[in-house]
Symmetry: C2
Subunit: 135 residues, 2 copies
C-alpha cells in the first residue's frame, strides 16, 4: 500500500460523492464495516459524521484507526481505499450539524433533514491508500 | 447488531450481485478494506476469493474474522453488513478457480478470464448482521 499523498486521479475519484464503506475495529479486535458518507477536507483528511448514539463512535474512540473504501458510482471496478488515524473529533452539536450538512450537500445537494440530530464528526488522516483501475 | 439468521429481505439483497467491500484486521491491529466480489453459499456462509499473492490473505489467516458490506446497486442507501469468523479455506488452484468462476458468473455472467491465476477461497460464517433501509 503506497503512502500518501495520492496521485491526482485517485484524489479526483475520492472527491466525488461516491458510495463508500468505513471499517473500524471493535473491542473484540474484529472488524466491522458500514456504508457511509465521507468528504475529503484539507487535501489529506477525510470527514465522516455519525449519530451520537452509534456504537461505532465508541469503538473508533477506543481504536482510532479506520479504513474507507470508495466505489466509483456505476463503475465500481474502479475503487479506492484510504486508511489512517483519527486526528480530530468534533462533538459539539451545532458544529457537527454544519459538518453533516456539508456531507449532505455533497451527496444530495441539500442540508441534512433532521435538525435535532445529535451528531459527532471525526476526521482521519490519509496515511495509506490503494486503488484499482483508477485512470 | 442482530445475530444470524437474516430476515428474507436482507438475504434477498445479499444474494444479488451487489457492489461490496470486505474488511480485515492487519497485524498492526488496524482495519483495512477493499472492494470485493462475494457469494452467499449454504445460506449462512459467504465465499470470497483472492489472488494467492494478496497481503490480505495472510492477514485473514492471522486474524480470521472479517466484515462485509454490500451496497444495493444504484440505490446504496440500502445496505447490509455481515460479519463473522472464517470457517473454511480452499487453497487448491483447480478448486479455487471453480470458486472464482462461480463468483465471476454471478457478477459478469461469464467465467473468470485469467485461467492461470493462483486463487484462494475463504468462506466466513454470517454470525452477525445489520442493515439499513431493507424492505
Amino acid at each position: 500500500m503506497p503512502k500518501a499523498p495520492l496521485p491526482e486521479a485517485a484524489m479526483t475519484l475520492l472527491r466525488e460523492p461516491n458510495p463508500a464503506v468505513i471499517s473500524v475495529v471493535m473491542p473484540s479486535g474484529h472488524p466491522m464495516s458500514v456504508a457511509t458518507w465521507y468528504l475529503v477536507e484539507d487535501d489529506d483528511t477525510v470527514l465522516v459524521n455519525m449519530d451520537a448514539g452509534r456504537a461505532r463512535l465508541r469503538w473508533i474512540e477506543q481504536h482510532p484507526h479506520v479504513s474507507l473504501t470508495a466505489l466509483k458510482q456505476d463503475e465500481w471496478y474502479s475503487h479506492l481505499s484510504v486508511r489512517g488515524p483519527v486526528v480530530r473529533w468534533e462533538y459539539d452539536e451545532q458544529r457537527a450539524l454544519a459538518d453533516i450538512d456539508r456531507l449532505s450537500r455533497h451527496y444530495s445537494g441539500r442540508d441534512f433533514r433532521n435538525r435535532t440530530a445529535r451528531r459527532v464528526s471525526a476526521w482521519f488522516e490519509i496515511a495509506h491508500w490503494h486503488g484499482w483501475e483508477i485512470d
